[in-house]
């Protein structure tokens, strides 16, 4: 049984040390270490984010977080492991971005294209013409937002995704990053 080992460094904020956890840590380091390219991508993340903001040369307003995501709905009792038999709600994948109780929000329906890329169809509230920037780690492109607030984007790479609303003369409004 585990017990205090004199001089042991507390792990996880508790003093009761169990060397078996250290062995597990070493095991995972051997059999499943974080790949170098994953660390490199993480290293680059802050410059990626900063570079886009510099390019835009506009102020960024408050970030819109994820309000709802139907992919995460109905997860009661879900152990969070692949193969545990999650049932999809059957409807389309809908993600809503918003900020607190603010009225600005972006609704996006995410659909999968045959090539494995994604199609986004959405609505911005309040309405008004502008541009929506679709950001992936590898690049970004813009699509128009019409006077009713509607937009559509195709060929979006699967993976990390973030959107930015651009309206003339206003602050750009980014959403949080999500994995699609």
């Amino acid at each position: 049984m585990s017990g205090d080992i004199p001089g042991s460094v507390p792990r996880n904020g508790i003093a009761e040390h169990d060397p078996l956890l250290d062995e597990l840590a070493a095991l995972f380091d051997h059999v499943d270490p974080v790949p170098d390219h994953v660390l490199a991508a993480a290293d680059a993340a802050v410059e990626v984010v900063a570079a886009w903001r510099d390019l835009d040369s506009v102020d960024y307003g408050e970030l819109l977080g994820v309000r709802t995501d139907t992919a995460l709905a109905g997860l009661a009792g879900f152990s969070g492991l692949a193969g545990s038999g999650v049932r999809s709600t059957g409807g389309p994948r809908l993600v809503t971005f918003g900020a607190g109780s603010g009225e600005r929000c972006v609704e996006v329906e995410v659909g999968r294209e045959p090539a494995g890329t994604l199609r986004l169809v959405g609505l911005v509230v309040p309405t008004g013409p502008g541009e929506l920037e679709v950001r992936s780690p590898g690049g970004a492109f813009r699509v128009p937002v019409d006077e009713l607030g509607r937009f559509r984007a195709v060929g979006v790479p699967a993976g990390p995704l973030s959107l930015v609303l651009h309206y003339p003369g206003q602050q750009a409004i980014p959403t949080d990053w999500i994995t699609v």
């Binding site: 078996l20 062995e23 995972f28 974080v34 993480a42």
Partner: protein, 199 residues
């Protein structure tokens, strides 16, 4: 060792576009984020996406983190949410498999190499027989000594009070499975042999 002021300082500097501070955060917590994604049985590609989304999200939110000292918990919770998003959205699965050859270039002698490889293989096989919940908790606890029980509870959506007892039960179950059986040819002979595995 109280690393909280260090962490708050790193977060502040990273927010001011100090690339070196950011790299320190990545090198300190990169394997934790990876461990969370992999503990949800995501394959390499999906785990890489979860990792990248998590770090991009941190980059966007550096200025608005409520408590920089709780960064490990923030990263674990974010990585879990993204892992669930991927699971529910894509429903792909890759069972965690034992690699055919485990890299052991740290060992100095051939005998140690063989023993270590075998020990790793047995530890892995025993670990895989644990319940899903045990595997998740132990992987998370092993991945970052800086995660508090509060962080783990928040990251895995389980009550913080249950983590200590669950940790103890899971480690005990793992120990029981590591007791030698037919490997050395000798039968499991009782409680005395369990102590051999505490180095």
């Amino acid at each position: 060792m109280d690393r909280a002021p260090q962490l708050a300082d790193l977060v502040m500097r990273a927010g001011a576009r100090d690339q070196q501070a950011w790299r320190q955060l990545v090198s300190r917590f990169g394997s934790l984020v990876w461990a969370v994604a992999r503990s949800h049985r995501l394959d390499h590609a999906d785990a890489a996406d979860v990792s990248q989304t998590t770090w991009l999200r941190l980059a966007e939110n550096l200025g608005t983190l409520r408590d920089p000292a709780r960064l490990p918990g923030w990263l674990a919770t974010t990585a879990r949410r993204e892992s669930l998003r991927v699971l529910a959205g894509r429903r792909r699965e890759a069972p965690a498999e034992l690699p055919d050859d485990i890299d052991h270039d740290r060992s100095s002698t051939p005998e140690a190499f063989v023993l270590t490889a075998d020990r790793d293989a047995r530890l892995w096989r025993a670990f895989e027989q644990l319940s899903d919940r045990c595997q998740q908790i132990l992987r998370l606890l092993a991945a970052s000594p800086e995660l508090s029980y509060a962080d783990v509870g928040q990251a895995l959506d389980i009550p913080v009070g249950s983590i200590g007892p669950t940790r103890g039960r899971c480690l005990q179950a793992l120990r029981r499975m590591l007791v030698p059986d037919d490997f050395t040819g000798s039968e499991f002979s009782g409680p005395g042999s369990a102590g051999r595995f505490v180095r």
